[in-house]
Symmetry: C2
Subunit: 229 residues, 2 copies
DNA sequence: CCAAAAGTGTTATAGCTACACCCATGT
DNA sequence: ACATGGGTGTAGCTATAACACTTTTGG
Protein backbone atom coordinates (compact mmCIF):
# COMPACT_ATOMS: atom_id res chain seq x y z
CA UNK A 1 0.00 0.00 0.00
CA UNK A 2 2.95 2.34 -0.46
CA UNK A 3 1.55 3.78 -3.72
CA UNK A 4 -2.03 4.60 -3.07
CA UNK A 5 -2.60 7.02 -5.95
CA UNK A 6 -4.66 4.51 -7.91
CA UNK A 7 -7.21 4.50 -5.09
CA UNK A 8 -7.90 8.23 -5.20
CA UNK A 9 -10.25 8.07 -8.15
CA UNK A 10 -13.63 7.80 -6.55
CA UNK A 11 -16.33 10.35 -5.92
CA UNK A 12 -18.65 10.66 -3.02
CA UNK A 13 -22.21 11.85 -2.71
CA UNK A 14 -25.00 12.33 -0.22
CA UNK A 15 -28.68 11.60 -0.83
CA UNK A 16 -31.38 12.99 1.38
CA UNK A 17 -34.76 11.60 2.22
CA UNK A 18 -36.69 14.57 3.50
CA UNK A 19 -39.86 13.55 5.26
CA UNK A 20 -42.89 15.75 5.73
CA UNK A 21 -46.37 15.12 7.12
CA UNK A 22 -49.24 16.68 5.26
CA UNK A 23 -52.91 15.82 4.68
CA UNK A 24 -52.49 12.84 6.98
CA UNK A 25 -49.75 11.35 4.86
CA UNK A 26 -46.01 10.97 5.07
CA UNK A 27 -44.44 12.57 2.05
CA UNK A 28 -40.92 12.89 0.75
CA UNK A 29 -39.28 15.61 -1.23
CA UNK A 30 -38.22 14.58 -4.73
CA UNK A 31 -36.70 16.51 -7.58
CA UNK A 32 -36.92 16.07 -11.32
CA UNK A 33 -33.46 15.84 -12.78
CA UNK A 34 -32.61 18.39 -15.48
CA UNK A 35 -29.37 16.78 -16.59
CA UNK A 36 -27.86 13.44 -17.41
CA UNK A 37 -27.50 10.91 -16.01
CA UNK A 38 -31.14 10.04 -15.43
CA UNK A 39 -32.33 13.27 -17.05
CA UNK A 40 -36.08 13.59 -16.61
CA UNK A 41 -36.22 11.05 -13.81
CA UNK A 42 -37.47 11.81 -10.33
CA UNK A 43 -34.73 11.43 -7.76
CA UNK A 44 -33.93 12.06 -4.14
CA UNK A 45 -32.18 15.36 -3.59
CA UNK A 46 -28.50 14.58 -3.60
CA UNK A 47 -25.15 16.01 -4.52
CA UNK A 48 -21.52 15.16 -4.88
CA UNK A 49 -19.42 15.92 -1.84
CA UNK A 50 -16.69 18.49 -2.37
CA UNK A 51 -13.11 17.38 -1.82
CA UNK A 52 -12.72 19.70 1.15
CA UNK A 53 -16.20 19.30 2.57
CA UNK A 54 -17.14 17.36 5.68
CA UNK A 55 -19.51 14.51 4.87
CA UNK A 56 -22.20 15.33 7.42
CA UNK A 57 -22.07 19.02 6.60
CA UNK A 58 -22.49 18.17 2.96
CA UNK A 59 -25.90 16.70 3.73
CA UNK A 60 -26.88 19.93 5.46
CA UNK A 61 -25.71 21.91 2.45
CA UNK A 62 -27.90 19.88 0.12
CA UNK A 63 -30.90 20.34 2.38
CA UNK A 64 -30.24 24.05 2.57
CA UNK A 65 -29.78 24.47 -1.16
CA UNK A 66 -33.02 22.67 -1.89
CA UNK A 67 -35.33 23.86 0.84
CA UNK A 68 -33.71 26.89 2.38
CA UNK A 69 -33.86 25.10 5.73
CA UNK A 70 -31.03 25.49 8.18
CA UNK A 71 -30.25 23.89 11.53
CA UNK A 72 -32.28 20.82 10.73
CA UNK A 73 -30.70 17.70 12.20
CA UNK A 74 -29.81 15.16 9.52
CA UNK A 75 -29.60 11.53 10.48
CA UNK A 76 -27.08 9.38 8.70
CA UNK A 77 -28.69 6.10 7.74
CA UNK A 78 -26.57 3.95 5.49
CA UNK A 79 -23.96 3.99 2.76
CA UNK A 80 -24.48 2.44 -0.65
CA UNK A 81 -21.50 1.29 -2.63
CA UNK A 82 -22.31 -1.19 -5.34
CA UNK A 83 -19.97 -0.89 -8.28
CA UNK A 84 -22.38 0.17 -10.99
CA UNK A 85 -24.75 2.38 -9.10
CA UNK A 86 -23.63 5.54 -10.92
CA UNK A 87 -23.08 5.77 -14.70
CA UNK A 88 -20.33 8.39 -14.55
CA UNK A 89 -17.87 6.43 -12.45
CA UNK A 90 -17.38 5.05 -9.01
CA UNK A 91 -19.63 7.03 -6.73
CA UNK A 92 -20.40 5.85 -3.25
CA UNK A 93 -23.27 7.58 -1.53
CA UNK A 94 -24.40 8.09 2.04
CA UNK A 95 -28.09 8.40 2.78
CA UNK A 96 -29.51 10.81 5.34
CA UNK A 97 -32.98 11.60 6.45
CA UNK A 98 -34.44 14.79 7.86
CA UNK A 99 -37.84 15.69 9.26
CA UNK A 100 -39.37 19.00 8.29
CA UNK A 101 -42.42 20.82 9.54
CA UNK A 102 -45.42 21.56 7.34
CA UNK A 103 -44.69 25.29 7.21
CA UNK A 104 -41.43 24.75 5.37
CA UNK A 105 -43.14 22.12 3.31
CA UNK A 106 -45.72 24.33 1.63
CA UNK A 107 -43.45 27.27 0.90
CA UNK A 108 -41.22 25.25 -1.34
CA UNK A 109 -43.74 22.93 -2.86
CA UNK A 110 -45.43 25.93 -4.44
CA UNK A 111 -42.44 27.91 -5.69
CA UNK A 112 -40.45 25.20 -7.46
CA UNK A 113 -43.33 22.96 -8.34
CA UNK A 114 -41.91 21.94 -11.69
CA UNK A 115 -38.66 20.59 -10.33
CA UNK A 116 -39.55 19.79 -6.75
CA UNK A 117 -42.50 17.88 -5.38
CA UNK A 118 -43.76 16.37 -2.19
CA UNK A 119 -44.94 12.85 -2.89
CA UNK A 120 -46.77 10.53 -0.50
CA UNK A 121 -44.51 7.59 0.17
CA UNK A 122 -47.06 5.10 -1.10
CA UNK A 123 -47.17 6.86 -4.48
CA UNK A 124 -43.45 6.79 -5.18
CA UNK A 125 -42.64 5.03 -8.42
CA UNK A 126 -39.33 4.44 -10.14
CA UNK A 127 -36.61 6.83 -9.04
CA UNK A 128 -33.16 7.49 -10.52
CA UNK A 129 -30.09 5.48 -9.50
CA UNK A 130 -30.71 3.13 -6.55
CA UNK A 131 -32.88 5.74 -4.87
CA UNK A 132 -35.81 3.41 -4.33
CA UNK A 133 -33.60 1.20 -2.20
CA UNK A 134 -32.22 4.22 -0.36
CA UNK A 135 -35.74 5.41 0.35
CA UNK A 136 -36.71 2.03 1.76
CA UNK A 137 -33.77 2.00 4.13
CA UNK A 138 -34.53 5.51 5.38
CA UNK A 139 -38.17 4.68 5.83
CA UNK A 140 -37.34 1.65 7.85
CA UNK A 141 -34.96 3.71 9.97
CA UNK A 142 -37.66 6.32 10.51
CA UNK A 143 -40.14 3.67 11.61
CA UNK A 144 -37.81 2.32 14.24
CA UNK A 145 -36.64 5.77 15.33
CA UNK A 146 -40.15 7.09 15.87
CA UNK A 147 -40.88 4.30 18.32
CA UNK A 148 -37.85 5.01 20.46
CA UNK A 149 -37.23 8.72 20.35
CA UNK A 150 -39.50 11.76 20.53
CA UNK A 151 -38.91 12.88 16.96
CA UNK A 152 -42.48 12.86 15.70
CA UNK A 153 -42.92 16.44 16.89
CA UNK A 154 -40.46 17.58 14.26
CA UNK A 155 -43.04 16.73 11.62
CA UNK A 156 -45.85 18.73 13.22
CA UNK A 157 -46.39 22.44 13.75
CA UNK A 158 -45.07 23.77 17.04
CA UNK A 159 -48.50 23.36 18.60
CA UNK A 160 -50.60 20.36 17.72
CA UNK A 161 -53.52 18.27 18.86
CA UNK A 162 -53.16 14.79 20.27
CA UNK A 163 -55.22 13.48 17.38
CA UNK A 164 -52.76 14.95 14.90
CA UNK A 165 -49.92 13.27 16.76
CA UNK A 166 -51.74 9.96 16.74
CA UNK A 167 -52.47 10.22 13.01
CA UNK A 168 -48.78 10.88 12.44
CA UNK A 169 -47.81 7.73 14.30
CA UNK A 170 -50.41 5.74 12.45
CA UNK A 171 -49.18 7.04 9.11
CA UNK A 172 -45.57 6.17 9.84
CA UNK A 173 -46.16 2.82 11.47
CA UNK A 174 -48.96 1.77 9.14
CA UNK A 175 -51.13 0.61 12.02
CA UNK A 176 -54.11 2.01 13.85
CA UNK A 177 -53.80 2.88 17.50
CA UNK A 178 -56.35 3.00 20.28
CA UNK A 179 -57.19 6.63 21.02
CA UNK A 180 -57.51 6.33 24.79
CA UNK A 181 -54.40 4.23 25.24
CA UNK A 182 -52.36 6.47 22.98
CA UNK A 183 -53.33 9.62 24.88
CA UNK A 184 -52.74 7.97 28.23
CA UNK A 185 -49.30 6.87 27.23
CA UNK A 186 -48.15 10.13 25.69
CA UNK A 187 -49.51 12.26 28.52
CA UNK A 188 -48.05 9.99 31.20
CA UNK A 189 -44.59 10.75 29.84
CA UNK A 190 -45.04 14.38 30.89
CA UNK A 191 -43.12 15.77 27.95
CA UNK A 192 -46.04 17.72 26.49
CA UNK A 193 -46.97 21.14 27.63
CA UNK A 194 -50.65 22.05 27.63
CA UNK A 195 -50.67 25.61 26.26
CA UNK A 196 -54.23 26.26 27.48
CA UNK A 197 -55.18 27.05 23.90
CA UNK A 198 -57.64 25.30 21.66
CA UNK A 199 -58.21 24.99 17.96
CA UNK A 200 -60.36 27.58 16.24
CA UNK A 201 -62.70 27.41 13.35
CA UNK A 202 -63.30 23.67 13.31
CA UNK A 203 -66.76 22.26 12.85
CA UNK A 204 -66.62 20.21 16.01
CA UNK A 205 -65.49 20.49 19.59
CA UNK A 206 -62.14 22.27 19.41
CA UNK A 207 -59.14 20.28 20.61
CA UNK A 208 -56.49 21.35 23.08
CA UNK A 209 -53.14 22.30 21.65
CA UNK A 210 -49.95 20.82 23.05
CA UNK A 211 -46.30 21.56 22.58
CA UNK A 212 -43.30 19.30 22.98
CA UNK A 213 -41.18 20.32 25.95
CA UNK A 214 -37.63 19.48 24.89
CA UNK A 215 -36.13 20.71 28.17
CA UNK A 216 -38.33 18.51 30.27
CA UNK A 217 -37.60 15.55 28.02
CA UNK A 218 -33.86 16.10 28.27
CA UNK A 219 -34.04 16.25 32.04
CA UNK A 220 -35.91 12.99 32.49
CA UNK A 221 -33.96 11.27 29.70
CA UNK A 222 -30.81 11.84 31.75
CA UNK A 223 -32.48 10.03 34.62
CA UNK A 224 -32.85 6.95 32.42
CA UNK A 225 -36.38 7.55 31.18
CA UNK A 226 -36.97 5.90 27.84
CA UNK A 227 -39.38 7.23 25.27
CA UNK A 228 -41.28 4.29 23.88
CA UNK A 229 -44.47 3.99 21.84
CA UNK B 1 -22.36 19.36 -12.70
CA UNK B 2 -21.43 18.82 -16.34
CA UNK B 3 -17.70 18.46 -15.59
CA UNK B 4 -17.41 16.21 -12.63
CA UNK B 5 -13.80 15.12 -13.05
CA UNK B 6 -12.62 17.25 -10.13
CA UNK B 7 -14.81 15.19 -7.82
CA UNK B 8 -13.23 11.85 -8.67
CA UNK B 9 -10.22 12.29 -6.43
CA UNK B 10 -11.27 10.61 -3.24
CA UNK B 11 -10.50 7.23 -1.78
CA UNK B 12 -12.70 4.97 0.20
CA UNK B 13 -11.99 2.53 2.99
CA UNK B 14 -13.67 0.10 5.34
CA UNK B 15 -12.82 -0.41 8.99
CA UNK B 16 -13.92 -3.46 10.90
CA UNK B 17 -14.70 -3.86 14.55
CA UNK B 18 -14.45 -7.58 15.12
CA UNK B 19 -15.98 -8.59 18.42
CA UNK B 20 -15.13 -11.75 20.31
CA UNK B 21 -16.11 -13.06 23.74
CA UNK B 22 -13.38 -14.69 25.80
CA UNK B 23 -12.62 -15.07 29.50
CA UNK B 24 -15.89 -13.36 30.28
CA UNK B 25 -14.93 -10.24 28.38
CA UNK B 26 -15.82 -8.63 25.10
CA UNK B 27 -12.69 -8.17 23.05
CA UNK B 28 -11.91 -6.63 19.70
CA UNK B 29 -9.35 -7.53 17.12
CA UNK B 30 -6.68 -4.88 16.59
CA UNK B 31 -3.58 -4.83 14.44
CA UNK B 32 -0.30 -3.04 14.86
CA UNK B 33 0.41 -0.99 11.77
CA UNK B 34 3.70 -1.74 10.00
CA UNK B 35 3.64 1.24 7.67
CA UNK B 36 2.92 4.92 7.63
CA UNK B 37 0.66 6.62 8.30
CA UNK B 38 0.37 5.78 12.00
CA UNK B 39 3.23 3.28 11.80
CA UNK B 40 3.53 1.45 15.10
CA UNK B 41 0.04 2.41 16.23
CA UNK B 42 -2.67 -0.05 17.05
CA UNK B 43 -5.59 0.24 14.67
CA UNK B 44 -8.82 -1.41 13.66
CA UNK B 45 -8.37 -3.76 10.74
CA UNK B 46 -9.20 -1.73 7.67
CA UNK B 47 -8.36 -1.31 4.02
CA UNK B 48 -8.88 0.88 1.05
CA UNK B 49 -11.71 -0.21 -1.21
CA UNK B 50 -10.69 -1.15 -4.74
CA UNK B 51 -12.15 0.88 -7.57
CA UNK B 52 -14.08 -2.11 -8.88
CA UNK B 53 -15.02 -3.61 -5.55
CA UNK B 54 -18.42 -3.57 -3.93
CA UNK B 55 -18.37 -1.73 -0.61
CA UNK B 56 -19.99 -4.42 1.50
CA UNK B 57 -17.90 -7.15 -0.09
CA UNK B 58 -14.81 -5.14 0.66
CA UNK B 59 -15.55 -5.46 4.37
CA UNK B 60 -15.79 -9.22 3.97
CA UNK B 61 -12.48 -9.27 2.13
CA UNK B 62 -10.76 -7.43 4.97
CA UNK B 63 -12.18 -9.83 7.52
CA UNK B 64 -11.09 -12.77 5.42
CA UNK B 65 -7.59 -11.47 4.87
CA UNK B 66 -7.10 -10.86 8.56
CA UNK B 67 -8.82 -13.80 10.18
CA UNK B 68 -9.36 -16.39 7.48
CA UNK B 69 -13.07 -16.25 8.31
CA UNK B 70 -15.60 -16.53 5.53
CA UNK B 71 -19.37 -16.22 5.43
CA UNK B 72 -19.47 -14.06 8.52
CA UNK B 73 -22.21 -11.46 8.31
CA UNK B 74 -20.82 -7.93 8.53
CA UNK B 75 -23.09 -5.18 9.79
CA UNK B 76 -22.63 -1.75 8.36
CA UNK B 77 -22.72 0.81 11.14
CA UNK B 78 -21.76 4.28 10.07
CA UNK B 79 -19.64 6.31 7.69
CA UNK B 80 -17.01 8.78 8.81
CA UNK B 81 -16.08 11.63 6.54
CA UNK B 82 -14.38 14.49 8.31
CA UNK B 83 -11.93 16.27 6.06
CA UNK B 84 -8.70 15.56 7.86
CA UNK B 85 -9.24 12.08 9.17
CA UNK B 86 -6.57 10.56 6.87
CA UNK B 87 -3.12 12.08 6.32
CA UNK B 88 -2.70 10.85 2.74
CA UNK B 89 -5.72 12.56 1.26
CA UNK B 90 -9.46 12.54 1.34
CA UNK B 91 -10.48 9.12 2.57
CA UNK B 92 -13.99 8.45 3.73
CA UNK B 93 -14.49 5.25 5.65
CA UNK B 94 -17.39 3.00 6.45
CA UNK B 95 -17.39 1.07 9.72
CA UNK B 96 -18.65 -2.50 10.02
CA UNK B 97 -18.85 -4.88 12.88
CA UNK B 98 -18.73 -8.66 12.94
CA UNK B 99 -19.18 -11.23 15.69
CA UNK B 100 -16.82 -14.20 15.75
CA UNK B 101 -16.84 -17.35 17.82
CA UNK B 102 -14.07 -18.19 20.29
CA UNK B 103 -12.72 -21.03 18.13
CA UNK B 104 -11.72 -18.65 15.37
CA UNK B 105 -10.53 -16.23 17.99
CA UNK B 106 -7.77 -18.37 19.50
CA UNK B 107 -6.41 -19.74 16.23
CA UNK B 108 -5.42 -16.33 14.98
CA UNK B 109 -4.46 -14.71 18.23
CA UNK B 110 -1.68 -17.27 18.56
CA UNK B 111 -0.29 -17.33 15.02
CA UNK B 112 0.08 -13.60 14.35
CA UNK B 113 0.51 -12.48 17.88
CA UNK B 114 2.98 -9.75 17.06
CA UNK B 115 0.74 -7.90 14.62
CA UNK B 116 -2.71 -8.98 15.75
CA UNK B 117 -4.22 -8.99 19.20
CA UNK B 118 -7.50 -9.42 20.93
CA UNK B 119 -7.98 -6.65 23.43
CA UNK B 120 -10.76 -6.33 26.02
CA UNK B 121 -12.79 -3.28 25.12
CA UNK B 122 -12.14 -1.62 28.45
CA UNK B 123 -8.39 -1.80 27.87
CA UNK B 124 -8.36 -0.09 24.50
CA UNK B 125 -6.15 2.98 24.49
CA UNK B 126 -5.29 5.38 21.69
CA UNK B 127 -5.84 3.94 18.24
CA UNK B 128 -4.76 5.23 14.84
CA UNK B 129 -6.91 7.65 12.81
CA UNK B 130 -10.38 8.22 14.28
CA UNK B 131 -10.63 4.58 15.23
CA UNK B 132 -11.54 5.22 18.86
CA UNK B 133 -14.65 7.05 17.69
CA UNK B 134 -15.43 4.30 15.21
CA UNK B 135 -15.11 1.71 17.96
CA UNK B 136 -17.51 3.63 20.18
CA UNK B 137 -20.12 3.80 17.47
CA UNK B 138 -19.86 0.07 16.75
CA UNK B 139 -20.03 -0.75 20.43
CA UNK B 140 -23.12 1.30 20.87
CA UNK B 141 -24.66 -0.39 17.84
CA UNK B 142 -23.79 -3.80 19.27
CA UNK B 143 -25.42 -2.93 22.58
CA UNK B 144 -28.67 -1.98 20.96
CA UNK B 145 -28.57 -4.89 18.51
CA UNK B 146 -28.04 -7.51 21.19
CA UNK B 147 -31.21 -6.44 22.95
CA UNK B 148 -33.37 -6.75 19.87
CA UNK B 149 -32.02 -9.60 17.82
CA UNK B 150 -30.70 -13.06 18.69
CA UNK B 151 -27.11 -12.35 17.72
CA UNK B 152 -25.41 -13.16 21.02
CA UNK B 153 -25.12 -16.79 19.98
CA UNK B 154 -22.65 -15.78 17.28
CA UNK B 155 -20.15 -14.97 20.02
CA UNK B 156 -20.47 -18.33 21.77
CA UNK B 157 -19.48 -21.84 20.76
CA UNK B 158 -22.20 -23.81 18.99
CA UNK B 159 -23.26 -25.35 22.29
CA UNK B 160 -23.26 -23.25 25.42
CA UNK B 161 -24.64 -23.04 28.93
CA UNK B 162 -27.27 -20.55 29.98
CA UNK B 163 -24.79 -19.06 32.43
CA UNK B 164 -22.35 -18.39 29.62
CA UNK B 165 -25.11 -16.67 27.66
CA UNK B 166 -26.02 -14.58 30.65
CA UNK B 167 -22.41 -13.57 31.25
CA UNK B 168 -22.20 -12.53 27.61
CA UNK B 169 -25.21 -10.27 27.97
CA UNK B 170 -23.85 -8.84 31.18
CA UNK B 171 -20.49 -8.12 29.55
CA UNK B 172 -22.04 -6.35 26.58
CA UNK B 173 -24.67 -4.40 28.45
CA UNK B 174 -22.51 -3.64 31.46
CA UNK B 175 -25.26 -4.61 33.88
CA UNK B 176 -25.95 -7.63 36.03
CA UNK B 177 -29.04 -9.69 35.36
CA UNK B 178 -31.16 -11.85 37.63
CA UNK B 179 -30.38 -15.49 36.94
CA UNK B 180 -33.90 -16.86 37.32
CA UNK B 181 -35.56 -14.14 35.31
CA UNK B 182 -32.97 -14.37 32.56
CA UNK B 183 -33.40 -18.12 32.18
CA UNK B 184 -37.16 -17.87 32.27
CA UNK B 185 -37.17 -15.24 29.56
CA UNK B 186 -34.73 -16.96 27.23
CA UNK B 187 -36.32 -20.38 27.59
CA UNK B 188 -39.83 -19.01 27.14
CA UNK B 189 -38.82 -17.83 23.67
CA UNK B 190 -38.37 -21.44 22.62
CA UNK B 191 -35.47 -20.73 20.34
CA UNK B 192 -32.96 -22.85 22.23
CA UNK B 193 -32.59 -26.56 21.69
CA UNK B 194 -31.68 -28.68 24.71
CA UNK B 195 -29.11 -31.13 23.33
CA UNK B 196 -29.44 -33.48 26.30
CA UNK B 197 -25.72 -33.04 26.90
CA UNK B 198 -23.95 -31.58 29.88
CA UNK B 199 -20.60 -30.03 30.56
CA UNK B 200 -17.73 -32.33 31.49
CA UNK B 201 -14.73 -31.86 33.74
CA UNK B 202 -16.03 -28.94 35.74
CA UNK B 203 -15.57 -28.81 39.49
CA UNK B 204 -19.24 -28.29 40.19
CA UNK B 205 -22.60 -29.52 39.03
CA UNK B 206 -22.33 -29.74 35.25
CA UNK B 207 -24.66 -27.48 33.28
CA UNK B 208 -26.91 -28.42 30.40
CA UNK B 209 -25.74 -27.40 26.95
CA UNK B 210 -28.05 -25.54 24.61
CA UNK B 211 -27.90 -24.63 20.97
CA UNK B 212 -29.57 -21.77 19.12
CA UNK B 213 -32.24 -23.03 16.74
CA UNK B 214 -32.12 -20.60 13.83
CA UNK B 215 -34.89 -22.38 11.94
CA UNK B 216 -37.30 -22.19 14.82
CA UNK B 217 -36.45 -18.53 15.35
CA UNK B 218 -37.04 -17.71 11.70
CA UNK B 219 -40.41 -19.42 11.79
CA UNK B 220 -41.73 -17.54 14.80
CA UNK B 221 -40.12 -14.28 13.71
CA UNK B 222 -42.27 -14.41 10.58
CA UNK B 223 -45.33 -14.64 12.82
CA UNK B 224 -44.36 -11.33 14.39
CA UNK B 225 -42.48 -12.63 17.41
CA UNK B 226 -39.93 -10.11 18.64
CA UNK B 227 -36.73 -11.12 20.35
CA UNK B 228 -36.24 -8.80 23.29
CA UNK B 229 -33.99 -8.91 26.35
C1' DC C 1 -17.20 -32.52 53.69
C1' DC C 2 -16.21 -28.42 51.28
C1' DA C 3 -16.27 -25.30 47.36
C1' DA C 4 -18.42 -23.94 43.25
C1' DA C 5 -21.77 -23.08 40.08
C1' DA C 6 -26.45 -25.18 38.42
C1' DG C 7 -31.01 -25.16 38.81
C1' DT C 8 -35.66 -23.90 40.33
C1' DG C 9 -41.15 -20.91 41.92
C1' DT C 10 -43.86 -17.52 43.91
C1' DT C 11 -45.68 -13.11 44.88
C1' DA C 12 -46.41 -8.19 44.16
C1' DT C 13 -46.43 -4.61 40.97
C1' DA C 14 -46.66 -2.16 36.73
C1' DG C 15 -47.99 -1.81 32.23
C1' DC C 16 -50.85 -3.20 28.40
C1' DT C 17 -55.19 -4.23 25.91
C1' DA C 18 -59.83 -3.85 24.97
C1' DC C 19 -63.74 -1.35 24.98
C1' DA C 20 -68.38 2.77 24.59
C1' DC C 21 -70.31 6.85 25.62
C1' DC C 22 -71.00 11.92 26.31
C1' DC C 23 -69.25 16.71 24.94
C1' DA C 24 -68.47 21.06 22.43
C1' DT C 25 -68.66 23.28 18.35
C1' DG C 26 -70.17 24.79 13.36
C1' DT C 27 -73.62 24.43 9.94
C1' DA D 1 -81.05 19.13 15.16
C1' DC D 2 -77.34 16.95 13.20
C1' DA D 3 -72.64 15.88 11.94
C1' DT D 4 -67.96 15.82 13.39
C1' DG D 5 -64.23 14.81 15.90
C1' DG D 6 -62.74 15.67 21.17
C1' DG D 7 -62.37 13.79 25.36
C1' DT D 8 -62.62 10.35 29.21
C1' DG D 9 -62.25 5.38 32.95
C1' DT D 10 -62.18 0.64 34.15
C1' DA D 11 -61.37 -4.19 34.45
C1' DG D 12 -58.79 -8.23 33.08
C1' DC D 13 -54.58 -9.81 31.70
C1' DT D 14 -49.67 -10.16 30.90
C1' DA D 15 -45.08 -9.15 31.77
C1' DT D 16 -41.67 -7.83 34.90
C1' DA D 17 -38.98 -7.47 39.22
C1' DA D 18 -37.53 -9.09 43.48
C1' DC D 19 -36.00 -12.66 46.08
C1' DA D 20 -33.21 -17.78 48.64
C1' DC D 21 -32.50 -22.31 48.86
C1' DT D 22 -31.36 -27.14 47.22
C1' DT D 23 -28.63 -30.00 43.91
C1' DT D 24 -24.72 -32.02 41.68
C1' DT D 25 -20.26 -32.50 40.78
C1' DG D 26 -14.82 -32.44 41.62
C1' DG D 27 -11.26 -32.08 44.77
Amino acid sequence: MSDVSSFFKMAFSVDCVIFGFDEGKIKILIIKRGEDPFKGFWALPGNLVYLDEDLNLSAKRVLHELTGLQNVPMQQVSTFGTIDRHPLGRVITTAYYALVKPAALHAYASSHVEQIAWLPIDEVEELAFDHNIILESCLSKLRSAIKNRPIGFDLLPKQFTLSALQKLYEAILGTSLDKRNFRKKILSMEILEDKGVTQEGVAHRPAKLFQFDAEKYKAIAEDGFLFQI
